[in-house]
């Protein structure tokens, strides 16, 4: 069940939680991830959906958040990781098709593994609980179907 142990997972999760909490305690902002895609699109698309007031208000700090996330992962790779940089072997078509569905789905659901999974659950939101159970269940079923048809 835990071939790599639980320590790296738990420690990493706690560090993520400290980052989210740090931002919340100082600013009251929920440091969630999937909104970044919509707020950043407001720089490029005139569609009303993206030019909505909240998007425009959030788009700058969400760029700082994304820049921080990249920097933090870079620091880990350069300073701590025993293997340095690392590149996935997952097929490109899976990254593309999966990415497309992740983009549509998280923006339709108004949250992802961080928005619903961390900030929503931490807020005791039943909406987020239902969302998490739904995307986790669907993802587990999907991964098993792929395995069954030989895509691993």
């Amino acid at each position: 069940m835990f071939p790599l142990g639980i320590e790296p997972y738990l420690i990493g999760g706690v560090i993520v939680g400290i980052g989210v909490s740090f931002i919340y305690i100082l600013t009251g902002l929920h440091a969630t991830q999937s909104s970044f895609y919509s707020t950043t699109l407001s720089y490029f698309s005139k569609l009303k959906h993206f030019q909505d007031e909240r998007n425009l208000k959030e788009r700058v700090w969400r760029l700082y958040l994304a820049a921080g996330v990249i920097t933090g992962a870079l620091l880990y790779s350069v300073l701590i990781s025993p293997i340095g940089f690392w590149v996935t072997q997952v097929d490109l078509w899976r990254l593309a098709l999966g990415g497309l569905l992740v983009g549509i789905g998280t923006r339709l659901s108004n949250g992802c593994t961080s928005g619903h999974g961390i900030s929503g659950l931490a807020s005791l939101s039943t909406t987020s609980l239902y969302a998490v159970l739904t995307f986790m269940g669907t993802a587990i079923i999907t991964a098993h179907i792929l395995e069954l048809v030989g895509v691993v």
Binding site: Y64, T71, G98
Partner: protein, 135 residues
């Protein structure tokens, strides 16, 4: 550059560091969770949610408001059909690729360059949602 954005950046550094530390920038590890071979991911989400639970539910009892101004407001949203349909579509994409929005951004920092493709398609997906789906 205002103080709030610097705070958000620093919090983001911790967020990205934690994601990389816990292996979430490796799509193979996420997929092994979804195949129920390595359940560690539960501790990433659970650990992060537990700490954040304290920040959202306990800190407001001892502090009037956020240090830099603003208000403490839990992340509560209304459950709609879109919440669940979106979660299903997200789940299928997550199960196909092992990518989610935050880990895809963090993957760029770990040199995991193929995920640039996933990131591009996430933008396309977010655009399609805004362009073609009401609500």
């Amino acid at each position: 550059m205002n103080t709030r954005n610097i705070v958000v950046f620093i919090g983001g550094v911790l967020f990205g560091f934690g994601l990389a530390y816990s292996g979430m920038t490796k799509q193979e590890i996420v997929l092994s969770f979804l195949r129920l071979e390595d359940l560690g991911l539960i501790f990433v989400m659970g650990g992060a949610a537990a700490i954040t639970f304290l920040a959202i539910n306990v800190i407001p009892k001892i502090m009037a408001g956020p240090i830099l101004g603003g208000v403490f407001k839990p992340r509560i949203s209304v459950l709609t059909r879109n919440t669940l349909i979106g979660a299903i579509i997200f789940g299928i994409g997550w199960g196909i690729s092992g990518q989610c929005p935050g880990s895809a951004i963090a993957s760029l920092g770990t040199g995991n360059y193929p995920v640039l493709v996933g990131l591009l398609f996430m933008f396309i997906g977010a655009y399609l949602r805004g362009r073609f789906i009401k609500g």
